[in-house]
Amino acid sequence: MDKVMSNRLVAALYVLPALLLLVVLIYIPIVLTGYYGLMQWDGIGAMTFIGLENYTRLLQDGTFWQSAYHTFLLALFSALSLIGYLMIALVLSGKIKGANLFRKIYLIPMLLSSVAIAQLWLKIYHPSNGVLNTFLEAIGIANPPAWLAEPSLVLYALFVPILWQYAGFYILIYYAALKNIPESLVEAARIDGASPWQIAFRIKLPLITEVIKVTIVLAVVGSLKYFDLIYVMTDGGPNGSSEVMASYMYHQAFRGFDFGYGSAVGFFLLVICLVVTWLLRKATASKDTIQYS
């Protein structure tokens, strides 16, 4: 086996199909998107080269910056929610009763498609006969808000199902990482008289920092390009109050017939994702990694 793999030609042959697909399906479209961003194009007729006009327009577009701010809020909430998921994983990885059951409960939203989740939460948020408002009225709140129609509330109302959707994923990652810590380390600490808190914060967390870093990048970059639930539930409305960058791109290109501008938004989004990923890696880079083997 090793002999075969050391043959460069064979290795290249193995790598080639995946590389081809990646280039054709990912890299070429990225370059094309950047290229279309330089054009005035309605998606149908002829393209006109307008240089960086779309990009300068982007920088002055208040609606775009508003949607960028919404995206930033989503990324912030996703990152903060990781703390909660970590706590849950810490509890579950300890020896508590029913840990298995809880793990499954948290994981279930992950098994549903985004559209199914959106439909479910649309029912929950329905202004007059939704589960939420029916409950609120039952406990004596006379006039509960119409969650998805209230510009000041809609964004936060959307964050709940989005965070709920991914909770299981992060809890599972943390849980797996925590379970990987050798029992002997925890045992030794316990014998030395460390409290459960000390074990959690001084032993367990430092040992899974690498995993935590990865999840932060995943959560932040995932939020930057988030689209589906928002598209199905509010379509960016009412009046743009739940518009995020990806939905704004979609609306410009496909609803407004402005493919050039939509492409510029898309390309800008890619650049932001790359920059943020780089910054996060930079910020979380540590000189000495802790190892337990």
């Binding site: 998805l148 129609a149 509010t234």
Partner: protein, 439 residues
């Protein structure tokens, strides 16, 4: 492991790769072949439409019947259908246009929607059909909506007007009559809200739904001021257009619409009316099957539904017989279709058959003239058909009249207006800016 299995595995990978890339190749080649005529005179037509069996059962059945009959009459023709839901249909049409791979026959909307496709030289003119076999078959004024610079690019198959449907039971409970004047209408709204009822069902997440209300108010107050402003012969700062916007917000303040309407889709808004939780619902006549022929809706409910025309306003400029409506969708033939002649023949056949059977089978109003004397029709349907014949003017839906970019601004502004995020003055100012921008 010896080398043989490895070599075999590699060969397999390679074959798979070639096979996969070959697939996409043969697919794009196949398209040309599929929609072309073969050497034996066999023709395959691609037809893309937006009546899925799930959401438009009556229409879907009708399309299938027509296709089946056409294939029996023309044994050398095979028609391949592609069915998409409304919003997806619009997206797919754009993407296919960008790569110049439109189906031979497809569905389009009129006016501003159609224009970019015509400018991009994607739709073939159908004037030959209009002056030939289909001459005089259409209701006057329907085909004009599909004309750009003197040529017609699609043939309409529906004609719609938008009445206000109402629930007779709820009205009777509070001793209300269908209003004829706007003051009476406001009184109906007030009586209903005072009694804790929801007067009007509205799902304004879709935004064109709210646009209907604005269009009627603008029409009643200012006559054709809105049309003129859209076409550029007038301006949006017409006092009537500002007042209409203010009137919308007045209705919102009166709680005339169901709660949370800006977050509800049209389907959700509609269900408020269908579940008898709201007394009125302003919608196009494409909803008629639900109140007449649709077997899934209980007869008991159908019997409760009546309609009235949008009330007139005392100081207004238009009469009660001017409607918001117009032709719905039409059929186009792709300019680069390899079987254009066959495609045109099919379109002609489709339009004729649809005209004959859409009345009785689907309960929708076709754009072609119908002889209703011979068929037994539901009363509601006949009444609306008569109204259509007496219409003094028909204002085409604003988002269809406008070009895509301006239509987008219009729809966004409608939602903002209903949500009180803009003042009536800002509302008209933004419209004017969008119209001025052109494109």
């Amino acid at each position: 492991m010896n080398k043989k299995p490895i070599a075999m595995l590699l060969t397999l990978t390679l074959i798979l790769t070639i096979f996969l890339s070959g697939c996409s190749n043969s697919d794009s080649d196949g398209k040309g072949e599929a929609s072309g005529s073969g050497s034996d005179g066999k023709v395959t037509l691609k037809f893309m439409h937006l009546w899925p069996a799930g959401s438009s059962a009556q229409q879907n059945k009708l399309v299938n019947d027509i296709i089946k009959q056409y294939q029996t009459d023309h044994p050398n023709v095979t028609i391949k259908q592609e069915v998409l839901e409304n919003e997806q249909y619009k997206n797919k049409l754009k993407i296919l246009s960008a790569s110049n791979e439109l189906p031979d026959v497809g569905v389009t909307w009129a006016a501003g929607f159609l224009e970019p496709y015509v400018k991009g030289n994607l739709f073939a003119p159908v004037d030959e059909l209009l002056s030939g076999p289909l001459e005089g078959k259409f209701i006057a004024g329907t085909t004009e909506a599909y004309a750009v610079e003197g040529k017609t690019y699609a043939l309409p198959i529906e004609l719609n007007i938008s009445p206000i449907y109402y629930n007779k039971d709820i009205f009777a409970k509070y001793n209300l009559q269908p209003p004829a004047t706007y003051d009476e209408f406001l009184n109906v709204v007030k009586t209903l809200t005072d009694n804790g009822e929801v007067p009007i069902a509205l799902g304004n997440k879709d935004r064109w739904t709210g646009s209907l209300w604005y269009m009627y108010l603008a029409n009643r107050l200012g006559g054709d001021a809105l049309e003129k402003a859209i076409q550029g012969t007038g301006k949006f700062d017409d006092p009537a257009l500002i007042e209409a916007a203010a009137e919308v917000q007045k209705l919102v303040d009166m709680n005339a619409f169901n709660k949370g309407f800006n977050g509800l889709s049209n389907d959700e808004g509609k269900s408020e009316f269908m579940n008898e939780k709201a007394a009125m619902y302003l919608m196009g006549t494409w909803e008629l099957p639900n109140y007449t022929t649709n077997p899934d809706v209980p007869q008991e409910f159908k019997d409760k539904i009546g309609f009235f025309k949008f009330p007139t306003m005392e100081e207004g400029k238009s009469d009660i017989n001017s409607w918001v409506g117009g032709p719905g969708v039409g059929l186009f033939v792709a300019q680069n279709s390899k079987v254009k002649d066959e495609a045109q023949k099919f379109v002609q056949y489709f339009v004729e058959k649809w005209g004959e059977s859409s009345v009785t089978e689907a309960g929708v109003i076709p754009a072609t003239k119908v002889d209703t004397a011979e068929v037994q029709l539901p009363q509601l349907y006949t009444d609306l058909l008569n109204e259509l014949n007496q219409a003094s003017s028909l204002t085409l839906f604003a988002d269809v009249q406008m070009k895509p970019a301006a239509a987008q601004v219009h729809l966004d502004m409608i939602q903002a207006l209903f949500g009180k995020a803009v003042t009536p003055e800002e509302f008209v100012k933004n419209h004017q800016a969008a119209i001025d921008k052109g494109n």
